[in-house]
Amino acid sequence: MTLTARPTRPQLGAIAQLWRNVRVQRAIFQLAFAVFIIWLVYILITNLTDELAKIDLEAFPFVERSGDFPFVKVHLDFLGQRAGFGIKETSFGFDYSANDRYADAYVVGVLNMLRVALIGIVLATVLGLVAGIARLSPNWLVSKIATVYVETFRNVPLLVQLIFWYTAVVLQAPPIGEAIHALGAIMSVKGVALPAANATDGFGLWSVFLAVALVAAIGVWLNRARRQQRTGRASYPWWSAAGTFVVIAAGGFILAGTPLAIDRPQVEGTSYAGGVQISPEFAAVLIALVVYTGTFIAEIVRGSILAIPKGQTEAAAAVGLNPIQRLRFVILPQALRIIMPPLTNQYLNLTKNSSLAVFVAYPDLFQVSRVTVNQTGQAVPIVILLLLTYLTMSLLTSLIMNVINSRLKVPSS
């Protein structure tokens, strides 16, 4: 039997071959998309430059054409200029005055934001943990109180809460002439002043003792923990370590000649002198952030505890653990894995929400940037700097939490 020749397809012309090639189609589509986006950005940027030029401002004063490669020079000279505005409070002992540069003002903003964010994260986590566990308490009253707390503060906008705490609570404190004195602390409408401990002579010597105490405590802990694992007899590693640390630190304190002086705050005229001062703005921002974020963390904690199979609780009870031990040894370790991703989200949210401090004039990053923009008119570079700062923080936090997350993951077989 003869094989009939298969009908030959007409050969496509060169262009038609290209046109019908899927990969070529995809490439063309993406090229068109990219061109469109680039064209759009070009239009927007040139508009921006033209409009700013009309009011005598350069849109991108920090970029210049230069003769040699890479044809642009970036210089942020305005950041080196004298700032000329004061900032009410700084963090971590950073000194700033109106004679410092804009760059310093920016750093102060970043530090202020970090201070409120870090303290806020710690407090909000504690509050959220307590509230989340309380919502699951068998005590009806406690669980109802926690529910009311979560439902109330979750549904009111953060800004409303912030302004409420600031104007209706913090600013209603007694004026400084009638400040409340308690346990060495002073509270008034100017904020809270707490006694601080200042280092005097011999602090260096004592820090050596502290380091030794820390090393010794770790050594004791390791020793005891291993012994406990090996022999099964209770050896109280944490208590022993803590005791070792306290003894060596206290001994060193006395031997170094008590190198700490208590700095009691005083009221001088219309402000405080000495001690650690907490401004009303900081207090309001902190309280609002902690209370608001605490509700979300409480929901996350509650959700993750509920996600643990009930059998674990029952088995733990059958083995004889009391409720607190059940939480500590069985439930929470497993819940931690589930809590981590949404918890990092909440930490990020708290840090970003700290930018609301601009509404109560707490000098955080956004507030400082606004003042700088007002004074220098360099809106574009400062906004870009702002975006980069926040993005870096978000990425860093995500990275750290991803690392922690991968450590906590159940190893897949």
Binding site: L44, F366, Y390
Partner: protein, 403 residues
């Protein structure tokens, strides 16, 4: 959940005493907690109650009702707002009637809830008009219920209702555009910003999510960068940038090749809407992305084997499942968007929260921040809480998590 091992002969047997024993006093620690909680509650309730009922001066809220609810909307144009209110009540009644059945308990509860509302409104025209809209809502619900039970083509009616919602949105915008947007304020502005933000960010968010999952690298990179940037930055900054830069970028009269390219005049409210939409779209995209990952890949492969094109696969198979799976998270995001409208304060817009501050800046009402802010907080709370309750009911109706 607590395994209560020891029930001695002293355990009360009957009703309330037994409940109290089990839930409040089951152990020493529990009893201490209960006593402490009661003390805390008593203290808080006393302080709050004393403030609300005795020392607060609610005159500030009474007198400034208008500012809180509609800002500086001109009197002559108030009829537009009423038309919108009636339209929404009617549509809401029809929607409820066509889709669900209210338990008979809902009516007395509604009646009871309206009592403080009418007390607040006082008398006069406003009360009459409000009563009218409630009546319209009830009538619409009854009519829709009757149709749903007895009439034909329920699905046609439902489709008409959906289209009507979209139309009403357009009608609202048209009606309101006649009034200068700088005069919009109070709860009216908050609701407009929230609704526009929600309605606009949803399709954009879905598109972004699909783009992020796309096989085209250019599109994928663009969408990923956009989403990550928007999620990494606080909303205040996006609003600030929109306020500052959008007019500079878009208002120049520029034409290329003889065709006008930009030259759009944006007023402040429009800039706020754009900023809110762009910001929320990124969050919606992340949520929808999670939903897309839930759809089993086998479904897409089977659809491709059947010869369905990408658009059909997405529209008929992937998106319905993906979106249904993430409804709780989506509603949560919309509630957040509603709360975030308070941030447009930074652009100088007088939405609800700004109205509260303006009220207390007036000569007669200077020290009354607490009352005014509490009132505003109450309004926000009522709306957000209803939304979250409605979402829970929606989850139940759709059987989320059960299939």
């Amino acid at each position: 959940m607590a395994v209560n091992a020891t029930a001695s002969s002293r355990t009360p047997v009957a009703g309330a005493a037994r409940w109290a024993h089990e839930n409040l006093f089951s152990s020493v620690a529990n009893s201490v907690l209960t006593v402490g909680s009661i003390a805390l509650m008593a203290f808080l309730v006393y302080q709050v109650g004393r403030f609300v009922l005795v020392s607060a001066d609610w005159q500030v809220v009474e007198t400034n009702r208008r500012l809180f609810f509609i800002g500086r909307f001109p009197d002559a144009e108030l009829w537009r707002v009423w038309v919108i209110v009636y339209m929404v009540s009617g549509l809401a009644g029809v929607t409820l009637g066509l889709w669900s059945r209210l338990p008979w308990l809902a009516w007395p509860v509604l009646g009871l809830a309206l009592v403080p509302v009418f007390l607040f409104i006082g008398g006069g025209e406003v009360a009459l008009l409000t009563a009218g809209s409630v009546a319209l809502f009830t009538l619409a619900y009854l009519a829709a219920r009757t149709w749903a039970v007895r009439g034909r083509s329920l699905s046609l009616a439902r489709n008409i209702a959906l289209v009507s919602w979209l139309l009403s949105f357009a009608v609202t915008m048209y009606l309101l555009s006649a009034v200068d947007s700088r005069l919009w304020g109070g709860l009216l502005l908050t609701m407009i910003l929230a609704v526009v933000g929600i309605v606009a960010s949803f399709p954009f968010g879905v598109l972004l999510a699909l783009g992020r999952a796309s096989t085209f690298p250019v599109i994928r990179i663009f969408c990923t960068v956009y989403i990550e940037v928007m999620r990494g930055v606080p909303l205040v900054i996006v609003l600030f940038m929109a306020f500052f830069f959008l007019p500079l970028m878009l208002e120049a009269d520029r034409s290329m090749l003889g065709l006008p390219v930009t030259g759009i005049d944006l007023d402040v409210v429009q800039r706020a809407m754009i900023a809110l939409t762009m910001f929320s779209a990124a969050y919606v995209a992340e949520i929808v992305r999670g939903g897309l990952q839930i759809v089993p890949r086998g479904q897409v492969e089977a659809a491709e084997a059947l010869g369905l094109g990408t658009a059909r696969i997405l529209g008929l198979i992937v998106l319905p499942q993906a979106l249904r799976a993430v409804i709780p998270a989506l509603v949560g995001q919309f509630i957040s968007l509603f709360k975030d409208t308070s941030l447009v304060l930074i652009m100088g817009l007088t939405e609800l929260l700004a109205a509260a501050r303006i009220v207390t800046a007036q000569q007669d009402f200077i020290g009354k921040q607490a009352e005014s802010l509490l009132f505003v907080a109450l309004i926000y709370w009522l709306i957000a809480f209803s939304m979250s309750r409605a979402s829970q009911r929606l989850e139940q109706t759709l059987g989320v998590g059960e299939r």
